[in-house]
Symmetry: D2
Subunit: 436 residues, 4 copies
Amino acid sequence: MSTGYFGDIKPVRYEGPDSTNPLAYRHYNADEVVLGKRLEDHLRFAVAYWHTFAWPGGDPFGGQTFERPWFGETMEHAKLKADVAFELFSLLGVPYYCFHDADVRPEGATFAESAKRLDEIADHFEGKMAKTGVKLLWGTANLFSNRRFMSGAATNPDPDVFAYAAATVKHCIDVTKRLKGENYVLWGGREGYETLLNTDMGRELDQLGRFLNLVVDYKHKIGFTGTILIEPKPQEPTKHQYDYDVATVYGFLRKYGLEKEVKVNIEQGHAILAGHSFEHELATANALGIFGSIDMNRNDYQSGWDTDQFPNNVPEMALAYYQVLLGGGFKTGGTNFDAKLRRQSLDPEDLLVAHVGGMDACARGLKAAAKMIEDKALSAPLDARYAGWNSTEAKAMLSGERSLEQIAARVAADGIEPQPKSGRQEYLENVVNRYV
Amino acid sequence: MSTGYFGDIKPVRYEGPDSTNPLAYRHYNADEVVLGKRLEDHLRFAVAYWHTFAWPGGDPFGGQTFERPWFGETMEHAKLKADVAFELFSLLGVPYYCFHDADVRPEGATFAESAKRLDEIADHFEGKMAKTGVKLLWGTANLFSNRRFMSGAATNPDPDVFAYAAATVKHCIDVTKRLKGENYVLWGGREGYETLLNTDMGRELDQLGRFLNLVVDYKHKIGFTGTILIEPKPQEPTKHQYDYDVATVYGFLRKYGLEKEVKVNIEQGHAILAGHSFEHELATANALGIFGSIDMNRNDYQSGWDTDQFPNNVPEMALAYYQVLLGGGFKTGGTNFDAKLRRQSLDPEDLLVAHVGGMDACARGLKAAAKMIEDKALSAPLDARYAGWNSTEAKAMLSGERSLEQIAARVAADGIEPQPKSGRQEYLENVVNRYV
Amino acid sequence: MSTGYFGDIKPVRYEGPDSTNPLAYRHYNADEVVLGKRLEDHLRFAVAYWHTFAWPGGDPFGGQTFERPWFGETMEHAKLKADVAFELFSLLGVPYYCFHDADVRPEGATFAESAKRLDEIADHFEGKMAKTGVKLLWGTANLFSNRRFMSGAATNPDPDVFAYAAATVKHCIDVTKRLKGENYVLWGGREGYETLLNTDMGRELDQLGRFLNLVVDYKHKIGFTGTILIEPKPQEPTKHQYDYDVATVYGFLRKYGLEKEVKVNIEQGHAILAGHSFEHELATANALGIFGSIDMNRNDYQSGWDTDQFPNNVPEMALAYYQVLLGGGFKTGGTNFDAKLRRQSLDPEDLLVAHVGGMDACARGLKAAAKMIEDKALSAPLDARYAGWNSTEAKAMLSGERSLEQIAARVAADGIEPQPKSGRQEYLENVVNRYV
Amino acid sequence: MSTGYFGDIKPVRYEGPDSTNPLAYRHYNADEVVLGKRLEDHLRFAVAYWHTFAWPGGDPFGGQTFERPWFGETMEHAKLKADVAFELFSLLGVPYYCFHDADVRPEGATFAESAKRLDEIADHFEGKMAKTGVKLLWGTANLFSNRRFMSGAATNPDPDVFAYAAATVKHCIDVTKRLKGENYVLWGGREGYETLLNTDMGRELDQLGRFLNLVVDYKHKIGFTGTILIEPKPQEPTKHQYDYDVATVYGFLRKYGLEKEVKVNIEQGHAILAGHSFEHELATANALGIFGSIDMNRNDYQSGWDTDQFPNNVPEMALAYYQVLLGGGFKTGGTNFDAKLRRQSLDPEDLLVAHVGGMDACARGLKAAAKMIEDKALSAPLDARYAGWNSTEAKAMLSGERSLEQIAARVAADGIEPQPKSGRQEYLENVVNRYV
Ligand SMILES: [Co+2]
Ligand SMILES: [Co+2]
Ligand SMILES: [Co+2]
Ligand SMILES: [Co+2]
Ligand SMILES: [Co+2]
Ligand SMILES: [Co+2]
Ligand SMILES: [Co+2]
Ligand SMILES: [Co+2]
């Protein structure tokens, strides 16, 4: 029985590029096969519970704009919210969703009550998931909104907060496992500092390293086979967050012996905030062997905070999915829309329209990327550019069979005077524009 | 015999805070003892040859503004430059200088000729150093200005450029060793990319890792006891540089097994470009155990490129030296002014005035930092803030003696509900303002 | 009768630079005379009601951290808030405060009820002001928090919102006049756009121009003698705000014939967000003749949003007050702390400490600026730099008595080949460092 | 007779979207009619002489990478450069070019010699233009590269520099008029400041206002009918430039009585540097009535300086041309590529490929924009959004027929309580994605 929230809106169907129906897909045809795989299996779309169902539309200078019948602090509200959520998942035909504990149940008076409520909602979810076939891409714990976490969760100066956070994550992993979640995500929104004047960075990094090791040990102990993912973000809410970007997370994982256990969930908006492009962060994760999943939501380049908008720039998305495909595509990861409506987008239809547009843009981007790969449009010139490294002597240098003196001696002996060759950037950019 | 370039300017002396003589130190008294060490031994000032003697005053929209008698491409010019340089070092009373190969000798027609010229200048330097007592803080190779390096040095798609760069660094380390340099620096101005479309990041990182290993092996082989330093910078000249910031360099060193061999030379301006404060980068290096040296020149916060200005904001510098002192102070490192005059500062006197102001500001900053340490002004509140971690149970959590389930069980059993405590940021900022 | 909120804290006194009492002034001695005026009369400090009393400590990723007994939606809460506010004003010894309607009274169910509540609080304020001698620097209307303003107030696509906003401002000006406010401020937090796709910029600018003309006409009609001030801010909350920066506001005022009627309230944080330094915005306002007042709160240079921190960098503040003094000092304006505690600064004492530190830093900055003016430390070199413009021919060029051809003819006739002179930036920066 | 520089490359032809020929147009069909006008007449493409023929490929950390046979300081070199330039214009089939005096002739030993050389090149250009039909979109003077301008041209503290700049501009306008240039551009690369410590901003603005008035007077006197254009840029090379952005230029023009005489040449890259989107600057110019022309070259969003890259993001360009078309399209203005090759793009073919890709992307953008206009895809929802303002009472408010009190009285009388409506941003973004 429908909640009626979306009125008489019908499930969104693929109608092809010429459709002008705002509630149809023009590019996302779930069953279309690209590079030997269905689009649905490539893209593995997920809806984010928090922005789409829990966010009231506030910003730092204004309060709630959205009026949702499920806003309220009771379990009835929480269940209504779940009902509407699964209706949206089904209308869109997305295979996955993601949630924080705090998104789906009202906070209880005690830890125990909060946990009990989460379990009760998990029961409710299980029924919904069975009926709709929608799956859980990842679960996560909100360790940043409650004032108890204001000075950090794992990195708090108070060990009781560390313990409280640990207990919270344990329970959220339990629930994620029960719901067959394919990943578990940690975003350290408060794991960082506001001022170094009151912060012992070395100690806090050790706390965070310990925390993550506890999580990984627990995962193995209970047989949770999903991937543990860290979501890097440089700042906001804190002035500085320890999981700054992909490269920083990699160093952190190495320091605490976790580089084989943990991967990254990369968000376009967070890449931008860290001064990188999205494809940079994806390429870095590929190079370092820690690519996991993506949050496909964009930031406004002119705003210095996380605007979490639905993606829409197809050329940028093509370059992002090109990196995803170069890395072999998603394994347990997927394309999560960690995106919120603009706070002026008040209508139920806006919720659907936003996802439809985002999914369509992703589908176009992925298809363009796949075609570039099939055509070797970029890889053929790339191979040619590095071809010199295939020589015996070059291989020997790279593998460590030559010392600095040996190389220097060869430069002198052969009178090596390298001549630069064109990098052809404009040509390659034009090539990409053939595909997008 | 003087070149006469600085006219009748006398050596710069310490005259105390009330002096209005622009060519006197008001705060830098080399022999003043702070925390048991002379200021000169704390600060270990170095003048950068390139900006101060080789830079012609150009910018992307304008050419040379400085008219120096030593500008020219002959060895006579190079020696005149050296003579004036050592006059400036002596007038200032700085203990150190730093240089790139390209700063001190004209490029030759071949590698061999360039090397021979460098050797000849090194002879000249040896004489000057013996006479003046000025020492070499570090040497380095310019692997970024010549067009052969336009697509990278170690990370070039052409292995011949890798080889050429290797030969260059070998020779520069030889010269640095001969001149008793206390460090050798690598700044990877072209080790990065302009576009991912023509770049294989994983391969280029491997090239860079191999290159650095070659350098470290060579250092040990020839018994060079100075420190190998990487200078992080996020971008400029390339769109993205691999040595982005301290945390990124740390991950890179771990990946290539070099975290015990290589340290970082941190520049304030580069910290800013990477979205960090200078003290953040210093604290990070301390936390990760790779702090080496500093380039104490500031960037304009409103300009998105490296403005390399002389430092002058004492409160910022106090926080920077506070981190340096927390890490135990400089070992082989020092305070290099990688700073250039504004291109409108045409006069010989401007060269002196800029260094005097920078050195004075550093001295004020360091003395303020030292006093805060003596007074435990920040460390006492810090210890109190983390005091909870001294309990037996907290220590057990941090050391790994408790599992996630054990911690969760304790939260449940004890009904832990942490209460937040004030972070007192404004109080601590006011405390700092007592010292600066 | 005290509310007891601040316990037994005594009024903050001036104790001189050597005091280590966190609740004493070290530099702000209200009666100290500088450039012929008392410090209190120079600085004209005001406390901002909103951040200090109404802000709950939330951020985009977390809720309330502050627990204040006056948080609540009743008039009793509002009066308790006022009582504590005036206690803080008196403990600090500040001469002024500022408020929005929404800060001081709970929103009513209707416009009329909201207005009645504001009037009732104004009565309460009148009593408090009479008793304490604290005055109103400026009043303002909150036209950005309520969802009715989500798409703009004056610039809303719905003319009813324009009307509602007009009625609100009318009432707030009435109250400001009654309370003898010395200025009335308009900050257009929603006067801008999220996307040009749904925005008619030309029309919205016309709406805003009309609105401001209505306000100015009304001011004159009722005999309100305070200054009307616009507070520029480039963005946040909206993607783009029409009152971007001082220069943009100037153009807007010219377009709508208001450049003699309206001045600017310049906030350091907003200057930074617009890519300017604070002193730039102040100098611009002086050059354009529209300087009014300041919001003396800083932004973090590494954060892309308005962090509204208490000021603490004395060198920066000296440069800011130097511009204020160059412009003749405040007339009706003053130094408002549009600053909020960090959300981790939970204690009542933090409220006091933050203001004390800010006021002290302002006092140091102003005194340094005053001394530079007395010594002509910067103005003498400046006059020398432009001295060439005192020649007869130069004056004739500038006043328009020479045509382009005449000037060109003189260049040819005299063979003019200008020789550049040093701009001496480092020297001048060192001079400033003598004072701060 | 061909210089042979471009080998046997044939003129670039339109081959349609399926072409994979890198030297064919896929979208730019000059004769295609859109909105009643040929594409060539809509887009009015121009090649920039400086980047394409004069720039050696240097950056702040590296020297020349390009090796062009015309690099050199003789008039023979200058003429060879011109010959190759007109070959490129013809191969591309662009209707226009633009130049600075300094791009086209070597600087002479005196003003007179420089002028004579420019005249000689202008003769050469006249012949080329007659033969090829290529026209001059605009001329301009380089008042920023020579060291005499290091502290400003019109805003220099030395009135002799003002005079020298005035003479230079006079001559460049004469030449532009002779070559039938359709506009004359002023970009104030040195009209700004490095530090306020040595700058009198009010005086310098007056100097700049006088300078521009001299130019406008001269234009009328000699009957030059082209448009005078200012090119806004916020900074770089100077820390702050007075022509910061479109809104700032508007205020400046109003202050000096020039808002009807001067328009703006808007560059995408400069918009970005000022914290705006390109379409924002275009919409602002339309709203303020000063739109003139565009420099269609993009900046890298992750680089804080002017990267001047060829445009390639079609969705962004569609939004830009949408604003151009909304403003009625170009009058005397056009689409100038103020874009430079990446310095690694060494080959002659790269010069062609870059322009071909840029022109194609512009054509796609313009065609998408035109189609959106034809379909009223955005304008119909926009009209609906503001429809409330068509009511009698709303019009009366906007026209000034209602006072603040009257409006307030109506709010009270009618009990106006506005209800917000969805802004539909995601819907509109999806609509745009149908076209790009
Ligand atoms: Co985000
Ligand atoms: Co995310
Ligand atoms: Co630098
Ligand atoms: Co450096
Ligand atoms: Co603010
Ligand atoms: Co403010
Ligand atoms: Co540009
Ligand atoms: Co331009």
